[in-house]
Symmetry: C2
Subunit: 282 residues, 2 copies
């Protein structure tokens, strides 16, 4: 997905938020915003939003000398999600279609995205996502693929969301490889964040070799790319994975909430809509 003009103000908001989280002074915050405007003026709209975000957040980290401005927010999100885990597992126990509920739970967790908004209400969002209609739902196709595949490659999104992913993974009853980022970028999950969510108990954790949001092939490691190309079934969580993979033929199911009007427009849906969308191999 290309970058839209609406992404410009959003990147400005994101950088300001990152700069503040990194403890930057007012002067440094302003310097960072002026620099982001230089970057936005020099980058072509043809690149994807995750590519832009990669460059912008890298420069914020460098200017603030803070390698992980979202560390505290990530830890808090994981802790909050873990307190919800027992209750959510109970819900599955009584569900008539546990897979659908687990998919909804994993999508609900996708609200924990500090790239799009600066805060979220996970409980209110859970209540909504557990009952609202899917704007796009390829659940029958996912069910079929899950039966046929021998393993699953799961592209993670944010820390905290990881706990909700775990619930879905526990539903699969198939070997899962959980792919995190190789370094800190916004509140995306790293190896450490995945372990804190207990993912190591239910899946193999690997990183994609990249410190960008989503999955930017040109930054990913050879070993990850090999796994991707050989995967029978890929679960891709969140907006950035959609933005970076929407034009790549592969056996992907995108699970996300449309958290801004740009992605909503691209998918032909409305903001706050939820999506389980199949992408084909060719």
């Amino acid at each position: 997905m290309k970058t839209y003009l609406d992404c410009y103000p959003c990147f400005m908001k994101q950088s300001l938020s990152a700069a503040r989280r990194a403890g930057a002074s007012e002067e440094l915050q302003q310097e960072i915003l002026l620099n982001v405007m230089d970057e936005l003026q020099s980058l072509p709209l043809s690149i994807t939003p995750p590519e832009m975000a990669f460059k912008i957040h890298k420069s914020v980290r460098q200017k603030t000398h803070n390698s992980d401005p979202y560390k505290q927010a990530k830890d808090q999100a994981t802790q909050e999600a873990l307190t919800l885990y027992p209750e959510l597992k109970n819900k599955l126990g009584t569900a008539s279609d546990p897979l659908e509920i687990a998919v909804r739970i994993a999508i609900a967790g996708n609200i924990i995205d500090l790239g799009v908004n600066d805060s979220y209400d996970i409980k209110a969002n859970l209540n909504r996502v557990l009952t609202q209609s899917f704007a796009i739902s390829d659940l029958p196709a996912l069910r079929k693929q899950l039966e046929e595949c021998s393993s699953i490659l799961y592209l993670a999104d944010n820390a905290g969301e990881t706990v909700f992913d775990r619930i879905l993974i526990e539903q699969f009853n198939k070997p899962v490889t959980y792919v995190v980022k190789a370094g800190s970028i916004i509140n995306d999950a790293t190896h450490e964040d995945a372990v804190a969510a207990g993912i190591d108990q239910v899946a193999e954790i690997i990183d994609n070799g990249s410190q960008a949001p989503g999955t930017l092939f040109e930054q990913c490691s050879e070993s990850f790319l090999q796994r991707f190309q050989q995967a029978e079934l890929i679960i891709a969580k969140g907006q950035a994975n959609y933005e970076s993979l929407s034009e790549r033929p592969a056996p992907i199911f995108f699970l996300l909430q449309a958290k801004c009007n740009v992605i909503a427009r691209d998918l032909g849906i409305k903001e706050t809509d939820i999506v389980l969308k199949q992408q084909l191999k060719e």
Copy 2:
């Protein structure tokens, strides 16, 4: 009030919205945004948000060759507000404190602000503002001043909001001068917009000589400035009037909704809070 760093992304959103309303092509929209970034990089934060908005929207109008991008939105807002007028007048007829209800109605109308957000729900907002507590309320002082003054200077904000202002003006039973902008700026009311709302039936309409949001003294006409300096009681509607007059000693009552976190922070209140705030002469 000075401009905050949070205003930068907001100005970008505003210019994109204005460019689209003016019918600009994708290419021109991008050119406009790149140009706005140049402007933001060159303007000092010490100037007020209305001063920034003045420069930015002027350049959008010039680049799009459209002198009034918000014309259609303004006409629609006025028409929608006029359909609500009879019902709102009925509310006043049965109110135990008609002045308070009229103040609330005028503040509710302030949601019609296309500078901050790109859309609004006037009915939902009316229901909220008619019952929510004031974050700041100097109603007793306003009541006293209204009794003592011989006339009122009323600084308008947006088209459509004008209809709600009319309801408050009809409650005053004092001569009112209604001050609009001398030219189109965002969806601020001009003479034509005020007449469409029926303000000419309840007040004298003048303009302030300026085509900026709020009240920028250095742009205002001598005749308006004289009226301002001699005014016994000034009603100033909306964020931009607060932003441009909050540090000017004058017998002002600010009536507004806090529609963004910048003004909320400046006033020490929360977003969506409503305010009736007295400013003193000295």
